[in-house]
Amino acid sequence: MSFRTMRSVVALAGAIAVTAALGGCGGGDDDGGGGSGAGKTLNVLIAANTQYPQEAQAWQKSIADKFKTQTGANITWETFATANEELTKIQTSVVSGSGPDVYAVGTTFTPTAFSTKAFVSLGDEEWKKLGGKDKFIPSSLGISGPDDQNQVGIPWVGRPFVMAYNTDLLKAAGIAKPAATWDELTQHAKQLTKADQYGLAVAYKDNFDPWKFIWQMAVQAGNPIADGKTARITDPTVKKAYQTYFGWMTNDKVVDPAAVGWTNSQAIAAFAKGKTGYMALTSALSAKALDAGAVQGKYAYALLPTVPPGATSRPGNGVEAASILSGDNLLIADYSKNKDLAFQFVKLITDNDAQLELYKSLGQLPANATAAQSLQSDPKLVEVLNAQRKSVATPFTGAWADVQLALTNAVVQSIPDLAKGSITDAQIDSRLATAQKAAQSALDRAK
């Protein structure tokens, strides 16, 4: 009896071992096999594309083919679903010294990635390998590094933020041009709010939208919020920004009360129904969603206001920021064993042809200056490209993620007050004080 049992135990153990070993076949090498360049594999990390999955696959294949012809090496594409997942991937790769060779990092996270010092610094020689700095739209280089000497990010695609407005509703209200100042926007929204219509769609509960408004309004008034190592949140400009932002819901009542629960996609969906005048913050990527809604053919993009609230023209130290500098930068890992291949790859996908192909198949705006120029002829894109040119980078510091969080937190904690319909100045002050404390401590730690 024991013999039989021993046999079955051994058999079972054997089965497990075999399956486990079989399972192990799925793993790949971190870096390309040794030896000749032809056997190598470049590991690239980009965002998963759910809007155009098949086109994305096709684009990846076409690039991989071109790359293979050019260098003989293969490409392995890894994708991440959310910004948090990408950050986690960066962290685990940095700590272990192995992982993707090329990262496509959102501009907002480039300073964080830079602070890990795990990415290749781009000097003159490196830029030459990539085709030269002049190849890129000047504003897109704004968040490649803290200054010109210490750049790590190569601009890849642009995602400037704009407003969308309902052309029919504006025409019906007698508004000739979309608002150019924040006060004008409020005024237009008031005119457009009537019956079952709302003037403005704002996503108060989104995790990424609110701080963009605050920063933009503040920087237009001359306050970049993170001024060197000082946090300037308890500042009249920021207070005015919050008052305006909250005011749309509480005082002006130009926003749907349900917006206290909206994420950006819900706000877009609401705007797509065709009963809202302006969609306060969006990018050209929303075109697909808007075209699928009732607002198809009746919307257009416009620059976000560039004059701070409470003013009719920008103050002397104000910055003409039509959008935060938004898009993706490419970063090359310092631990990579295929740096040369990586540079060739980056050059390939930032060249004119690849950038235009990327736009055509996936709707991502190029960072390549020539490609962007050639898109000027598309009427739908004129304002968006304008916004891209007038994008201003957020302060380049490793603490920016925390500053962002602090600004957003002030909104999150205010939502119950917004829902009730009023928020006092005292409450805003106390929220700003909390945010100031958090932001300042993050900036103190920044190296």
């Binding site: 486990a20 799925g26 098949q54 959310t82 969006t282």
Partner: protein
């Protein structure tokens, strides 16, 4: 083994006819009310998932409950939006193995902990519970460092392989599986084991021929939990896998992704994918739940 298998069918038949009423735990009307109530509790949000999967992405994003337009396109799109088929396959392989292995190891460990006394027994038992209280977020980076060090210094590629994931999930599932079996095995009468032992059977024989068959309900339950632990884990899977070895949970995350700036998350597809991902687990459960029956040894001992 022969004793209990002969006893079981008798037991079940007896349970339904003659002693049927004796086995009834709740009066019929209460039974009906509770069943319907609990099912409704579960099914209302599920119906939302079903309806959303039959809606369009824009429709779901705007918060509709009842779709304004019914469309089954989500079910076809999900296979191309993310590598769902690879994900499900990988998940089934890894989680299936984890379930089997953790049930085996858990029962074995529990058996020793329950039937024998030795110094440190209580410490181990308490330690197992203590291990359950460790948050995954604390462990992520250290586990990753450990696994990647194995790759860097021992040449043992762990990150990105299925068996690396298997080892991680198995270890996380073990404390729980062990404890489930501990509570169950304690209620198992010793007579059969003692009889076998006096017959000269070794521990392994007792384990495989007596303990395992008798504790099938608990094994099924602990296997299910181990399976689900791996099935739904996102944190570790996202860092320990490559595109070829990614699990269903990682693939499902893709559907919830949204880029800043207006691209709509594909909610309808996410709901459809979630339902599809639930199917393997449900099928497995349907298959194994028939082992969740009682009346184990009563006839056998006599």
């Amino acid at each position: 083994m022969t004793l209990s298998t002969a006893a079981r069918p008798d037991r079940r038949r007896a349970g339904r006819t003659a002693a049927g009423e004796a086995n009834r735990l709740l009066p019929r009307p209460l039974l009906a009310v509770l069943t319907v109530g609990l099912c409704a509790l579960v099914l209302v949000p599920i119906s939302y998932i079903l309806l959303a999967s039959l809606n369009t992405d824009v429709g779901v994003a705007s918060g509709e409950f009842w779709p304004s337009t019914f469309s089954g396109t989500s079910y076809t799109k999900i296979w191309t939006t993310a590598d769902l088929s690879t994900g499900i396959l990988n998940s089934v392989i890894v989680c299936g193995l984890v379930a089997v292995a953790s049930a085996l190891l858990g029962t074995t460990t529990a058996y020793v902990l329950v039937r024998y006394t030795f110094f440190g027994r209580l410490t181990i038992l308490r330690g197992l519970v203590g291990l359950q209280s460790i948050p995954g977020t604390l462990m992520l980076l250290p586990v990753f460092v450990l696994f990647s060090s194995a790759g860097n210094y021992l040449g043992l590629t762990v990150i990105g392989t299925r068996w690396g994931l298997f080892v991680a999930y198995l270890t996380f599932a073990l404390p729980f599986s062990t404890w489930v079996m501990v509570t169950y095995l304690r209620g198992l009468p010793r007579e059969l084991e003692e009889a076998a032992r006096t017959d000269g059977a070794s521990t392994l024989v007792i384990l495989f021929r007596i303990v395992f068959p008798l504790s099938l309900p608990a094994i099924v339950v602990s296997g299910i939990f181990a399976f689900l632990l791996g099935w739904n884990d996102v944190l570790f899977a996202s860092v320990l896998t490559r595109p070829e070895t990614q699990t269903a949970a990682v693939a499902l995350q893709v559907f919830g992704s949204s880029q800043e700036g207006g691209a709509l998350p594909v909610y309808s597809q996410m709901m459809a994918a979630a339902l599809i991902c639930a199917v393997p687990v449900v099928l497995l459960y349907l298959g194994f739940q028939r082992y969740l029956v009682g009346g184990l040894t009563a006839g056998g001992v006599k």
